[in-house]
């Protein structure tokens, strides 16, 4: 205890020996290293291109029995919008079920008999939107978009003077004007990746040492337990740093997501989250006994809450109050919020101080609890 200054790292090299061992462990297994370095990039690309929740060129079918100028104009306008593409013109309403069944279209627009002239003149125009509600969220969004396009057309037909005094909200999408879902996914994927690398890998690797008995040998050596743990964290920190750069570069260069705020602040917030993830891994390793349990704890206990509660997929504001409370203990929720603020909205530190403070507090609590538990385990 006495002559063990923190600088003993330099005097003799147990720290370097231990960290080197950790690196060798990871790099010896090509599959692990591929998984850890390629997977984040693949996830970003996948989320960016394949998994989109945005509305773009959705195929629709149209049944138009009257075929007059008015309907033709409306159809043309819908087709011209960036949201929809008229895939098929139907000849009979019964065909609707068929085309939905073939999976060619997501939405069908059915004009009523005698739709024509100016709807403003006879005041009666009937129109039906049929949506495929297997994905209710998307069906809702699609019908909203289509209604909006139709509404635009309807208003443009009216002479300005005759316009009824209706309220037309002008919706402006801030920060993400094109409603690109990838803007939301980049911070989310980062939240997931760091958790996977730091929390999951660290907890598994500590528990593995306990299972194989090597931890006991290390503890019987003069190296301090805190040094053993710190050495373990080094490679995962390095991997996280590499991944942070990859993900950021990919988002900016390939997906075109801008970094609106300060890059330094973004890096600080991410480093903080990485440390919290490492501590989570340490905490898990103190409560489970086997590698499998560590995997399940970090998989079920961390990944699923991150996916469902962090706001990555479902907005936190839409959750039941109980779940919102629950979500506030998920570090990723705060990180993702901070990232969206800094990266997409370009907010300064003062605007995300709550998120940063919460992450700091979580880190301190995890550190204290884990150290306590780790010591108890040694007794």
């Amino acid at each position: 205890m006495k002559n063990n200054s923190p600088f003993s790292v330099h005097r003799n090299s147990p720290f370097i020996a231990l960290a080197g061992k950790e690196f060798r462990h990871i790099f010896r297994d090509v599959r692990t290293i591929l998984l850890l370095l390629v997977m984040p990039a693949a996830q970003i690309i996948l989320f960016g291109f394949a998994v989109t929740t945005e509305i773009k060129e959705t195929p629709i079918a149209v049944f138009d029995p009257s075929k007059n100028v008015s309907t033709a104009r409306l159809i043309k306008r819908i087709d011209a919008s960036e949201y929809f593409r008229v895939e098929q013109m139907l000849h009979h309403p019964d065909e609707i079920t068929g085309v939905f069944g073939e999976g060619k279209i997501r939405l069908a627009l059915v004009f009523g008999d005698g739709f024509g002239g100016s709807p403003a003149l006879d005041g009666r125009a009937s129109l039906q939107i049929v949506a495929d509600a297997t994905d209710p969220n998307q069906a809702g969004t699609l019908t909203q978009y289509l209604s909006a396009v139709i509404g635009d057309e309807y208003r443009s037909q009216l002479p300005a003077a005759d316009a009824p005094p209706s309220i037309v909200p002008v919706v402006k999408m801030l920060y993400n004007p094109e409603m690109k879902s990838v803007y939301n996914f980049v911070p989310g994927v980062m939240g997931l990746i760091f958790l996977l690398i730091c929390a999951m890998m660290t907890s598994i690797s500590i528990v593995r040492e306990r299972e194989t008995g090597t931890m006991e040998v290390l503890l019987a050596s003069p190296v301090k337990p805190s040094l053993i743990i710190a050495a373990k964290a080094v490679p995962y920190l390095a991997l996280s740093a590499v991944n942070y750069c990859t993900v950021l570069l990919l988002s900016v260069l390939v997906l075109g997501v801008p970094v609106a705020g300060s890059l330094a602040l973004l890096t600080v917030a991410s480093s903080l989250y990485i440390v919290v993830s490492l501590l989570l891994g340490l905490f898990i390793s103190t409560v489970v006994r086997t590698q499998k349990a560590a995997m399940i704890a970090s998989g079920m206990g961390l990944m699923i809450p991150v996916m469902l509660l962090s706001g990555l997929i479902f907005p936190v504001a839409n959750m039941p109050v109980a779940l919102q409370w629950l979500s506030s203990v998920v570090p990723a929720r705060w990180y993702i919020r901070a990232m969206r603020g800094i990266m997409i909205e370009g907010l300064p530190l003062t605007a995300v101080r709550l998120e940063i403070a919460v992450l700091c507090a979580m880190g301190v609590v995890l550190l204290v609890v884990s150290l306590k538990k780790f010591k108890v385990r040694l007794e």
Partner: protein
Amino acid sequence: MKTGDTSIRVRDLTKRFGTFTAVDRICFDVKEGEIFGFLGANGAGKTTAMRILCGLSKPTSGEGTVAGCDIADAEQIKRRIGYMSQKFSLYENLKVWENIRLFAGIYGISAKETARRTDEMLERIGFAHGKNALVKSLPLGWKQKLAFSTAIFHHPKIVFLDEPTGGVDPVTRRQFWELICEASERGVTVFVTTHYMDEAEYCHRVSIMVDGRIEALDTPQNLRAKYQANSMDEVFRQLAGKAKRMENCKK
């Protein structure tokens, strides 16, 4: 007040977990260079006692010195001892020399010295050809010999072996014990727990723990004579048969 030739000295060492007394006021001395067998049935408290001596656990009460250091000073003890755990204690995913270098680094041995000792050690145990082999590819016998050689690589005064030969065939066990005897001849104190009574015969002195206490402590010959037994196995059966703990557990 250095006695010089006393390697481990323990007086009234006790460890309690709640109301359960795992180690109950044990006293003994181990001399330098001695092979000291520490026997006992499962749950007799030998692993707990050994963990205290290694500085892995703190005693509830009692006193003692290990390699000239007070047992309260775990830090200093750990510098002077080697330890080989019950489970196999090298890294399977590392090469032989990488394992050695890791433990050499932990004990602060310079790179040059490490390289020299590595060659000398592998030469001595006849394993120079396996320097670059991954540990997981080796047969269990070699792994165990390497684990032992690594445990004494930093020239500790005492090496603690916690059931080092579990699951190893008799021929390999014999070879392993030859290594232990060699180390003892070089002056390393060997403190070993085992379940195999034939191994107890190799020890200079043997203690047998029953229910947290040391019931017998002497050379194997003297113990056999005292209990009128033909083998250590019989001695052990007679003593371990007195244990009350297991029956209590069953109730």
